[in-house]
Amino acid sequence: MDFKTISFVILAIILAPLAGGLLAGIDRRLTAWFQGRFGPPILQPFYDVIKLLGKEPQVVNYWQIFCVHIYLIASILCVALFAMQADLLMIFFVMTIGAVFMVVGALAVPSPYSQLGAQRELIQMLTYEPLLIIVFVGIYFVTDSFKIADILAYDRPIFLALPLLYLVLTFALTIKLRKSPFDISASHHAHQELVRGVLTEYSGPYLAILEIAHWYDIVLILAICSLFWSTSWIGLVILLAVTYMAEIIIDNVTPRMTWKWMLTYVWAVGISLSFFNMALLYAKSF
C-alpha cells in the first residue's frame, strides 16, 4: 500500500465518527423542527458520548465487553476497507461479523428484554442483508466489478442505471439507522415494549462505544449510497442530502411496525423492485 492510501485510511478512521456524530446531531435538530420543538444542540451526540465514557462500567458478564469491542473494530475496519477501495463483498462480510457480535453480546445476558431484542435484531439483519447483496450484485452487473476502485472509475453515475435498486438500498439504510417504521429491535427513544431492546443491558462506557460504532456504520452506509453518484461531488452531496432528509421525514410520519410486517413488506417490495431493475438492465443491453 502506498503512502496516499495509508493516509487516506487514517483520515477516514479519524473523521468518520466526527462526521457520523455531527450527522446524528443534525438529524435530531431536524426531527425536532418537524415535531414543532427546538431540539438539542447539534453537538449533543458528542456531549452524550463523552458523558457516557466517564461513567462507571456495569456489566452482567464479560462477553458483553468482548462483543462490544469486536463490533467497534468491525465497524472501523469496514470504513478503513472502504477508504482502501477494497471489495464490496469483503466489506459486507466484515459488517455482518460486527452486527452478529452485537447480537451475541445481547444474547449473553439473561434479561428478557435483551433476549427478545437480540432475536428481533437477527430478524432485522435477515431482512436487509439479502437486499444488500442484491444491490451489490446489481452494481456488479453495471460496472463488472465488486471492487470500489473500479466502481469509482465508472464514467456514468450508477444511479441512472439502478434507480430502483437505490430504493432498495434505502430500505437497508432505514433499518440500519434504526428509524421508523423499522426501528423494531432498539428504537431511538426507549418507548417501546422491549425497553431499549438489544441495547438494554449496555450502559456507561460500553453504550458510548456502541454509539461510536453506530456512527461508523452510518458513514459506511452513506458511503455505499454515495457510490451511486460518484462522478461529481455536487451530485453526490445532493443525493445524500435528499436521501437523509427522506429518512427523517419517513421516520416522523410512520409509526413503528411489527417485525412480521417488516419482513413480508421489505422482502416483497425489495425483491420485486430488484427484479424489475435487473430486467430493465438486461432489456437495455439488448
Binding site: 428478557p112 423494531i184 422491549l194 410512520t254 409509526p255
Partner: protein
C-alpha cells in the same frame, strides 16, 4: 420455551406504574398476571381524619388528569346528603372545567398512544395542542393540572365574560388543530395496521366484565354517565359517542370524537350560562348514605359516601373507571403479540393512581 417478560412497573411506555407479568411464547402472550399497589396511598382512610371540606382537596389528588371531576362528584355526594341546591351558574362553570379536563386528558392519552406505537411526531403535536387547554386552565383557575375550583356548595372562582369569550376562541383554535391530525388517525395505513384488530373486546365481554367509559363505548354499548343529566348536562344536547368494533382503533376513535364533542359542549354551555351566585351556603353536617356517578375521561366514576353527622365522614368509597377496566385488560391480553401489549395497555387509558388511590 416460555419467556417471562416483566412489563413494568418502570416502563418507558407506561405513564403510571403497572406491573404485568407476561408469559410469552414466540412473542405471543400466553398469560398476563397483574400486580398493582405501586402507588397505593390509602386515600379513602383519610376520610376518618379530615373533615369534609378538606376531603375535597384530597379527592382532587386521587388523580391529576381527572382531578376536577373527582372533586365535582364528591361535592355532588355531600350536597345530595345535605340537600344543598347548587346555583345554576356554579353548575355550568363546573361542567365547563370538567369538559376542559376531558379534553386535556384525551389529548394526553393520544400523545401517549402515538408514542406507544412509535410515532413520536404525533405525540409531540398532540401535546402541543394540549398546551392551549393548559393555558386556559391556568388563566381561569390558577393551576395547570390540579385546579381546585370545586367546593361544597359550588365553585370557588368565577369566569368573567371576557374570559368566557377567550375560552371560545381557544376552543375554535383547538378544533382547527384537531382537524389537522384527524386525517392521520382516521386514514393512515400504518396507524391502522397497528391498531385495527388489536385488543378486541366484544359487546358481551365489555358488558359482563364491567368495562367503563370509552372501553365500553368502543365495543358498541351506548352508556355514558352524562346521559343521566347530572350537573349542567341536563341543559345541553348530548349523545354518547359509540363505535362498533371493540378494537384499539375503535377506542381511539371514540376518544378522538369525544374531543370534538367536548368542544361542542363547552360552546353550548358558554352560550347558555346564566348569571348568578357561584356558591350556596353550607351549614351543618351530612347524615345518611348516597351514591353518585359521573363520567370521567376514562369512564364511569362512582362515589359512595356514608356519614353519621360527625365532623368526619364515616366512609368514602371511590370506584374509578380504570379499576373497572383492569379485568377487560386481562381478558384482552392473552393471544396478542408482544408488540401489541403497549397499545392494548394504553388503549384502556390506564390511570393507575386512580385505580389504587
Amino acid at each position: 420455551m416460555a419467556t417471562i417478560v416483566p412489563f413494568g412497573p418502570q416502563h418507558p411506555v407506561l405513564p403510571e406504574p403497572l406491573h404485568l407479568k407476561l408469559v410469552l411464547e414466540d412473542e405471543i402472550v400466553k398469560e398476563a398476571l397483574p400486580t398493582l399497589g405501586y402507588v397505593h396511598r390509602g386515600l379513602e382512610t383519610l376520610a376518618s381524619i379530615r373533615d369534609m371540606d378538606q376531603m375535597v382537596q384530597i379527592v382532587e389528588r386521587v388523580c391529576g388528569i381527572c382531578s376536577c371531576i373527582h372533586a365535582h362528584t364528591y361535592c355532588m355526594c355531600i350536597e345530595g346528603l345535605m340537600g344543598i341546591e347548587v346555583p345554576q351558574r356554579a353548575d355550568f362553570l363546573r361542567v365547563i372545567w370538567s369538559e376542559l379536563h376531558r379534553m386535556h386528558s384525551h389529548l394526553l392519552w393520544l400523545g401517549l398512544l402515538a408514542d406507544a406505537f412509535g410515532m413520536e411526531s404525533m405525540f409531540m403535536h398532540a401535546w402541543r395542542i394540549r398546551e392551549r387547554v393548559m393555558d386556559v386552565m391556568e388563566a381561569t383557575a390558577g393551576n395547570r393540572v390540579i385546579i381546585s375550583v370545586n367546593k361544597i356548595g359550588g365553585v370557588r372562582r368565577d369566569m368573567s365574560p371576557e374570559q368566557l369569550r377567550w375560552v371560545l376562541q381557544v376552543v375554535d383554535e383547538l378544533e382547527t388543530e384537531l382537524d389537522k391530525i384527524k386525517a392521520v388517525l382516521t386514514n393512515d395505513y400504518s396507524v391502522k395496521k397497528r391498531t385495527v384488530g388489536v385488543g378486541v373486546l366484544t359487546y358481551q365481554q365489555a358488558y359482563e366484565l364491567g368495562a367503563a367509559g370509552p372501553q365500553l363505548r368502543g365495543s358498541g354499548v351506548a352508556q355514558d354517565m352524562r346521559m343521566t343529566g347530572y350537573g349542567a348536562y341536563k341543559y345541553i344536547d348530548f349523545a354518547p359517542v359509540v363505535e362498533k368494533d371493540g378494537d384499539s382503533w375503535a377506542r381511539t376513535m371514540v376518544r378522538f370524537r369525544e374531543l370534538y364533542q367536548s368542544i361542542d359542549i363547552v360552546r353550548q354551555l358558554i352560550a347558555k350560562i346564566p348569571d348568578g351566585e357561584i356558591a350556596a351556603k353550607v351549614k351543618g353536617k351530612p347524615t345518611g348514605e348516597i351514591v353518585c356517578r359521573s363520567e370521567q375521561p376514562r369512564g364511569e366514576l362512582m362515589y359512595y359516601v356514608r356519614a353519621t353527622g360527625d365532623k368526619y365522614l364515616d366512609r368514602v368509597r371511590i370506584r374509578t373507571p380504570t379499576f373497572a377496566n383492569v379485568p377487560p385488560l386481562l381478558a384482552m391480553l392473552p393471544g396478542c403479540e408482544m408488540a401489541d401489549v403497549p397499545i392494548i395497555a394504553l388503549s384502556i387509558d390506564p390511570c393507575i393512581s386512580c385505580t389504587e388511590r
